[in-house]
Symmetry: C2
Subunit: 362 residues, 2 copies
Amino acid sequence: MTKKYNFCAGPAMLPEAVMQQAQSEFCNWQGSGISVMEVSHRSPEYIELAKQAEADLRELLAVPDNYKVLFCQGGGRGQFAAVPLNLLGDKLDADYILTGQWSKSAVVEAKKHARIQETDIMTTTADGKITIKPCDEWPVNSGAAYLHYCPNETIEGIEIFDVPSTGIVPLVADMSSTILSRPLDISKFGLIYAGAQKNIGPSGLAIVIVRDDLVGKARKAIPSIFDYEIQANADSMYNTPPTYSWYLAGLVFKWLLAQGGIAEVEKKNIAKAELLYNAIDASSFYSNNVDKSVRSRMNIPFTLADDSLNDTFLSESKAAGLLTLKGHKLVGGMRASIYNAMPIEGVQALVDFMAAFEKKYA
Amino acid sequence: MTKKYNFCAGPAMLPEAVMQQAQSEFCNWQGSGISVMEVSHRSPEYIELAKQAEADLRELLAVPDNYKVLFCQGGGRGQFAAVPLNLLGDKLDADYILTGQWSKSAVVEAKKHARIQETDIMTTTADGKITIKPCDEWPVNSGAAYLHYCPNETIEGIEIFDVPSTGIVPLVADMSSTILSRPLDISKFGLIYAGAQKNIGPSGLAIVIVRDDLVGKARKAIPSIFDYEIQANADSMYNTPPTYSWYLAGLVFKWLLAQGGIAEVEKKNIAKAELLYNAIDASSFYSNNVDKSVRSRMNIPFTLADDSLNDTFLSESKAAGLLTLKGHKLVGGMRASIYNAMPIEGVQALVDFMAAFEKKYA
């Protein structure tokens, strides 16, 4: 069979080594004779797995001791609700920075609970590229309970590498599609969260990293499973956690550590992104309309000069083993999501295919 | 290796045939060259899987057309919050029937949103056994938005086989540990829900079956992922669903259909439960303190005449391949959870072990 490379934005491909290990021990975890998904989350063996996964994630991201790490259900959209329900406390206001579809969706949910000051910072450069205003120009309302932004917009292919300074206002970030792709200074954030299905593991798990002083202020009507204090006090096992997803996330964390940690992973991600962007920029057949300063390393949208070739591009790339390259319906064209699990050989295969396709049809 | 039988209450054992199929296609689903957990939930292939799983569940439970079937995140405890947030509408009151720990936990969550009339119907028989008052003696408040009960209390080992008549008040049931174990007349219920990790699949998935007229009344502040109307309109894909759990649930549904459906499955469950209860009742060394009329077929707690032998029983049973027999800490003793996936050979192995243990230590 042709080697398959899967460019899906999420649920995304997982590391090949992780998948092979998971398959080999699928029905017999650690010699127990049963699957890890059949093990009680209250058993010493599973609790050891869970604690190790948290410890490895803390090591990877250098999470300071005054932050809780929570393994939750409900995905990123669950956190769109959980964040205001947990962080507003007795305040009524929160700031949301708009950089694309995901940050806009977060606002819709937050408006159920708070008065939102939303600021659209998307703009265009002199040559018509999409960009965003620098972080130091973002407005901060000093009375806000927090400021929320999305450092990587999966659909538009925008990534924000600077971290805004928000003074005493806690900074909250939806890191779903950038977490673990590059080093982070967690201490600059009050809270970060991420749906797992891009850079962590399968869908159905979300990670929350939250500073201690922001825990314990939840509104009374919050569903208990979303209450950070309840989950922190129960080691994320107030309700039965998604145990198999947690296990796979733990394998992914070990795989990242084995590569030398996030600084090494970032180097690979930079090389992968440069390979693809350089191929796009060197061609007049392909284009990407995001300014270089805010181009995502994880999600790379591009268009063909002739839209009528889109279906041909998709069918021929699929036949070549390059899967799920169709762009999001809101922006059209193509999109290659190249998270940590995508090896550079996959990006090279895509670049080679794109060159051959251009030669054939341009 | 000794054959292992896993009596965990949840996450519970899954059918051996399902696990073997899942392992064999773990990295190459339907010849795609990738795992089903790496497939986009928006792809035609995954949508076909999702629709087939729903269709199979509808067939198994004979779900009427005027009911929605939803695949959700957040487990049973998530639904403890979702039910009042969706069903109260402009009412303030709901009725909760108490039959054990799980129905009590549901009340704690519901009180965040409604005035709860809670009625404890647990009682004891003349000979000191735990029982519950008959359904026709349960009080129904005609002004309540719904009446909630739990037909199978996993911890106490109580099962309620009759379905109460609540007139115009919608009946809501937490079926987490009894769903798919016996036929149900869904039309008697307004809503049933179940965490998957007992009789459906791995943890991290919950199933909701809700009558059409109860959808669309959610409170404005409900987290959108819990809003039945939003999820129904999005075919349970408003947010990225737990795709791998959904896939495994689908395999379990196919496995149940291949056995001839739920009526056939019930016969096996009756035989399994009788085998174990008969062994307990025939012995003066083991005992179960639940009245026969309300004994659970799924979760069978029992105690040893001499508590000081508990640790020995647990270590020797584990060595014999009989796993996770420790009772819940709230009731102590032992518990054998024998959901659909447990073959009668597993129950026979437990009964044989219990007889040998009694002979050795009594």
